[in-house]
Symmetry: C2
Subunit: 214 residues, 2 copies
DNA sequence: GTTAGCATGTAAGGAGTTACATGATTTT
DNA sequence: AAAATCATGTAACTCCTTACATGCTAAC
């Protein structure tokens, strides 16, 4: 009944924390900026926004003409702009700090990583290491299964298993680099600037076009 | 109402084509042999089996003692063994030949590939090439999006996008090799033996233990 | 003047999970 | 004797999609 999706809620709060937006733009950002991994439809986005409003984490802003310097854009359509409230900000911060086992599961890890810029370093470490050990666990099961089923399955199935394992191994190596990089306190040229710095966010890009993943 | 899941139905028919099995064992095979990519629960498996029975594609075999040489295993529990009917076999063949755009989407491609051993070569080619062009389409969108959003998103988001793109590029390379290999008619040592050869299937492995992916 | 994109929503349904209910048997 | 594994099943719920409904504006 309540449409409290976890992933979607988290992503919406996170994106709105950077800057207020209307639904249509929000969806585009969900499908691109956030690492491409998911495609949400309006059928889930709008009900989610409604629920977040109900919780008091968002407020509507019937933005028609104000604060935009160009008057050409004002006449589009209703365009309900959503802004994060103080409570919403608090809620998001609360979610950011959660390091339950959910955080490193497939469905959640991507979106958690996408907001690492807002996440404290120790939480980042816990999530990265949690993810890694989760994947290593999975690798162990895969290897055991491979050793047992080899010869019994056909070549295509075997190739699929091999490729699947290689993908997981690759992600583990990626995580190793990231964890190493976190430990060094951002050594190699990258500046993630710790857990502060909201200025890296997006600043009113009305010029976006065709950003859908089909 | 009808619980006709597509992926699950296809996988169950395919596994039962190799040899009759009971539900519990079926689930283990779904989570391991089939490339690890999905974990189905009993809550979906049993209703699916029920539906397949209703369609006449499966029959129950109250297998208690027969055909097993060791009498030690007979006393376990009811153990309803399912066997594919002629209609079920036909249905599976029908599904194997489908090359609609669904076949190369994320949810379906894995399971389609897992049964390539039973699939005719031209269908294999269509599915592999369909998958590849689907991914290349996605890559184009990603690249366009990256070019537009660079500088506007923070370093973590960018890293996530970069890693996501690399994963897709890697799968494209994998597909290229597979397509090449199909064109050569299985050149390099691998013998997938065309579209015939049901003997590669699994033959009654009662010794399986701990094959779950947690 | 019609296609494509912008913009917001709802209702119905699909595909799966979790939690529960039950009970045998094997291993520790 | 307890814990794990084997084995089957159901009800309620979650989360998301598709299809529909509506209407405006920009570009071709």
């Amino acid at each position: 009944m309540s449409r409290r999706s976890g992933v979607l809620e988290f992503a919406v709060l996170g994106l709105l924390r950077e800057s207020p937006m209307h639904g249509y733009e929000l969806r585009k950002r969900l499908n691109t900026s956030l690492g491409f991994f998911r495609a949400f439809s309006y059928g889930s986005l709008y009900p989610c926004l409604k629920e977040l409003l109900r919780q008091g984490w968002l407020v509507e802003e019937q933005s028609g003409a104000a604060e935009e310097s160009r008057p050409a854009l004002t006449g589009r359509r209703a365009r309900i702009v959503y802004r994060l409230t103080a409570e919403g900000k608090e809620r998001f911060e609360e979610l950011l700090d959660q390091t339950g086992p959910d955080a490193w599961e497939d469905e959640h890890f991507g979106v958690r990583f996408a907001f690492f810029g807002q996440t404290s370093r120790d939480v980042r470490m816990r999530v990265l290491e949690g993810r890694r050990s989760r994947l290593e666990e999975r690798l162990a099961t895969m290897r055991a299964s491979l050793a047992r089923t080899r010869e019994k399955v056909d070549a295509y199935t075997l190739e699929l298993q091999r490729h699947g394992m290689e993908s997981v191994e690759r992600e583990v190596r990626w995580l190793n680099e990231l964890i190493e990089s976190e430990r060094e306190g951002r050594g190699e040229g990258r500046d993630h600037s710790g857990s502060e710095n909201p200025e890296v966010g997006v600043e009113q890009n009305d010029t976006d076009r065709n950003t859908d993943i089909t």
